[in-house]
Point group: C2
Chain length 210, copies 2
């Protein structure tokens, strides 16, 4: 009885892991279920990945590979803007990734993005110090904003019913602006907020360059 299964590999495992996390969430994706989804036993995975931490690092770097590299032919500010928007899009596509982003070491794909970003600032005439600030401001915005956005989507569930229910628990005397804020999210949020703050940061950095 020969084994007709396609043999495991790091790539196959990572692809399946991303798929599983996309479909069911990371908290559901256990080593056992991952192996099961591939038709192998748990321990087979350990022939290709070191441990669960290694798996997660690989998953994060896997989706980093989907983010658009900086276009070297465009002005630095435009290239950074495009990359940021692409990165944000990818993180929204894979909602499990943003919380893990800051918790794992950068893999090869992420390293390339980081180098690109720093290079764009330095070649654009930023001092090492200002490039350093710019780097942190931009990456922080990409990950942090997405994190908040996803959290909002989650706590307010699919529909806006939960948001309305949340408002109902608030005393309008004590939390008038909080209520206004949540209502903004329900009615007026067209998704342009990420880019608005991004431009605010980019303009601020350019001004700081002097």
């Amino acid at each position: 009885m020969t084994d007709t299964r396609i043999p495991l590999s790091r790539d196959r495992i990572l692809t399946a892991a991303v798929e599983l996390a996309d479909a069911a969430g990371v908290e559901v994706m256990s080593m056992r279920k991952l192996a099961g989804s591939l038709g192998f036993e748990v321990m087979s995975l350990y022939n290709h990945i070191a441990n669960k931490g290694d798996l997660i690092t690989g998953m994060v770097d896997w989706i980093a590979g989907d983010m658009a590299r900086l276009d070297p032919d465009r002005p630095g500010k435009q290239a950074v803007r495009d990359m940021s928007i692409s990165a944000h899009d990818v993180l929204i596509e894979h909602p499990w990734a943003a919380p893990l982003w800051t918790r794992s070491m950068p893999g090869p794909n992420r390293l390339l993005l980081m180098e690109d970003l720093l290079a764009a600032f330095r070649r654009g005439g930023f001092s090492p110090r200002l490039a350093h600030f710019g780097f942190h401001a931009i990456t922080m915005h990409i990950v942090g904003f997405t994190l908040q956005q996803l959290n909002y989507a989650e706590t307010n569930s699919a529909t806006d019913d939960a948001a309305s229910a949340f408002i109902a628990t608030l005393d309008p005397e004590q939390f008038p602006y909080m209520i206004e804020h949540v209502e903004y999210h329900i009615h007026d949020d067209e998704g342009g907020d990420f880019v608005f703050i991004l431009d605010l940061i980019l303009d601020g950095l350019e001004r700081a360059k002097g």
Copy 2:
């Protein structure tokens, strides 16, 4: 044989949980160990908290209570600046909290901080829309920046040896700016970066107000 132990309460449990997480990290703080540190059995906890999610929400809100409320007597921009710095300090003191911040619903203490922040913007003459942007930009900076900072401290371990080792793995031809960036973290990072970017955001918002 009478029981001389101080009876459990939600407050006692939360205090012990924060203490345990501070000392050993959240990933180590299990329900079983938490109960053990209090001298009770696991299941006793469930008489005071609903489940682990409830516990974590409570822990996050517990430390939110340590953050300085906005001073209503100061100009809005200054008050927001002070609150942000205080919040950042508290998150650095409790390194487990920032990753959980965006993953749990706001409790009573956090709600007050959020309302304060929104009120400062609105009373300072911001439109609902701009107050909304400002709110997200500031909270994102507080949590996101701290997250990156903690991650850096972690991957580079206590000493700078790990950072140097990390640099050593990088090809200087391919990653010149990445190397420069990590070296900045090792040598020139005096901790003023959080405030620098904070001011950049505050100035940007004020300018957007027109």
